[in-house]
């Protein structure tokens, strides 16, 4: 059974259509990369998966998305519960101006948990998961903004994981990081996929080929090709894909 199914999704911001008849399926515990030139709709597609687009007035979706076999756009769906099952990490790290501890604890507090020792344990566990524990264990109650960019991004991942999602959406998570932090992040993604299903938007094709199991190429809101990564990069079936990955693509 697929973890995520995107079924014939069309998406509009106001009157301009941004996604055209997208059909995708993602298996559990895999990393799926979404690549394409800027403006192709990959971030929009990502946000379709946790209904974050709804925060923008005038947005409108046709079609359906199913997670664990159940539609997430049904009228009985609690969007807040959905977002707790689908976590998101953003391009630029955005830790809250609070302590490291409180950042990770945030997800628990909004679930109504404030049992001190439970939170302590969870904080440690998620920080270990993102390989940040050793670096911050003495600074738990210091401001999160004092951490380096790479650490902040891992903190944001820990924060998202504390809510115990089953899916993790990552929108160009390494684009504001230096190469070493990026490498650490990619290692982390590899570790995390054993527990979570990950969808990764990136404009870095090497990153896509290094980290993902399957890759999707979007262009102007259309899904051009979707295949397992090895095939995708060595023997793409579409000419546009070939042009894009070899850099011959003209961005109109």
């Amino acid at each position: 059974m697929y973890k995520i199914e995107v079924r014939e999704v069309d998406f509009w911001y106001g009157s301009s259509q941004v996604l055209h008849r997208i059909y995708l399926e993602m298996a559990p515990n895999t990393v799926t990369a979404l690549i394409g030139p800027s403006g192709c709709g990959k971030s929009t597609l990502l946000r379709v998966l946790n209904r974050m687009n709804e925060l923008i007035p005038g947005s409108h979706l046709r079609g359906d998305v199913c997670i664990d076999g159940r539609s997430i756009y049904g009228s009985d769906v609690d969007v807040y519960e959905l977002r707790k099952r689908v976590g998101m990490v953003f391009q630029k790290p955005n830790p809250f101006p609070k302590s490291v501890y409180e950042n990770v604890a945030f997800g628990l507090r909004i679930k109504g948990i404030n049992h001190r020792s439970f939170i302590d344990e969870k904080v440690e566990r998620t920080l270990r998961q993102v390989f940040l524990w050793e670096e911050v264990k003495d600074k738990l109650h210091k401001p999160a903004l004092a951490l380096s960019g790479g650490q902040q991004q891992r903190l944001c991942i820990a924060r998202a994981l504390a809510v115990e999602p089953s899916i993790l959406l990552m929108d160009e998570p390494a684009s504001s990081l230096d190469p070493i932090s990026t490498a650490k992040l990619e290692e982390l993604i590899y570790e995390l996929k054993q527990t979570y299903t990950i969808v990764l938007v990136t404009h870095n094709m090497q990153q896509a080929s290094r980290t993902s199991d399957r890759t999707a190429f979007l262009y102007k809101g259309n899904l051009i090709e979707y295949a397992d990564t090895a095939t995708f990069f060595t023997n793409p079936s579409s000419q546009s894909t070939q042009d894009y990955i070899t850099g011959r693509f003209r961005n109109e």
């Binding site: 946790n50 974050m52 925060l55 807040y80 519960e81 959905l82 977002r83 707790k84 976590g87 998101m88 953003f90 630029k92 955005n94 830790p95 809250f96 101006p97 609070k98 945030f106 997800g107 507090r109 909004i110 944001c156 924060r159 998202a160 809510v163």
Partner: protein, 292 residues
């Protein structure tokens, strides 16, 4: 090449800049000089520690506490109304309301602060006090609760406008992160935006409190003229500012210790509001620094 006329103009401009400093120094100077006259005959400790203020009775007493308590009481009552209401309204306008509603609400709130304070005082006496007496028969005609509540409305716009600005300037990506974790709008507002805007909001609260301390007409009309060492909101009291008005309107001879009490009281009021205003300013700047 600057013409001489231009040099003159620029000199005048410089002068006007100095003028603003001059005003502050004049205020401090006037207060100090005349308060000096007061404190050279009345020991400072009597003023600072005394609990009776009766400069015009047989048994003269010059303790500042009755006036201080009266001032604090009315200001705190005002804050008791304005703080929760102002905070909630700011959250609503910043995080919930759509822009057309905000465009109506904001000017309406600003209008509250444009109303002359005599009008508020009048309403406190004529409308609020009888209403309070209806619900709580024990309240005297002059009391602290009525002007306190009315002052709360007067200072409400101070809290809402500054707090709302502070909250709206919290970056959108923080809200996004919280929403993405499944936080509700309330949780985002209360647990992310408000803490992030904390400095700005506190600055607003302090400023509003300072304004309430210095307010004159509302209390002069509705609070009474009986300095007493009490925190009871149902009885008549007197604040520092309304004492100054009372003496100014009276026939006290223009020299002498009794008259100089208004400068002693004035300098106390000035010091208090000055300290609070500067604290508020410092907090707002720190907030802007944290933003950047």
């Amino acid at each position: 090449m600057k013409r001489p006329a231009e040099k003159l103009i620029e000199a005048l401009l410089q002068l006007s800049g100095w003028l603003t400093l001059g005003i502050t120094f004049s205020v401090i100077g006037v207060l100090l000089v005349n308060a000096w006259g007061f404190f050279s005959s009345i020991p400072l400790l009597d003023f600072l520690l005394g609990t009776r203020w009766t400069p015009f009775s047989e048994q003269q007493a010059f303790g500042m506490w009755p006036l201080l308590l009266g001032t604090l009481l009315t200001a705190l009552l005002a804050m008791a109304l304005a703080l929760p209401l102002g905070l909630l309204i700011s959250i609503y306008l910043s995080e919930y309301a759509n822009s057309s509603w905000r465009q109506v609400a904001r000017p309406a709130l600003d209008l509250l602060s444009a109303i002359p304070t005599v009008v508020y005082g009048f309403l406190a006496l004529v409308f609020v006090t009888p209403a309070l007496q209806f619900f709580f028969p024990g309240i005297e005609r002059f009391n602290a609760l009525s002007p306190g509540l009315v002052m709360g409305f007067m200072i409400l716009p101070i809290i809402t406008s500054i707090s709302e600005d502070a909250m709206r300037s919290v970056p959108a990506n923080l809200r996004e992160a919280a929403f993405a974790m499944g936080a509700s709008r309330w949780q985002v507002a209360w647990r992310v935006v408000l803490p992030a805007a904390f400095n700005g909001v506190t600055a607003a609260v302090i400023l509003a409190f300072s304004r309430a301390l210095g307010e004159t007409m509302i209390v002069s009309i509705a609070a009474g003229q009986q300095p007493s060492f009490t925190l009871n909101p149902t009885v008549a009291i007197q604040t520092a500012s309304s004492y100054i008005i009372q003496i100014s309107l009276g026939d006290v001879s223009r020299s002498g210790t009794e008259y100089n009490t208004i400068f002693a009281v004035g300098i106390g009021l000035f010091v208090l509001t000055f300290a609070l205003n500067n604290l508020s300013y410092w907090l707002r700047n720190r907030f802007k620094q944290i933003q950047a």
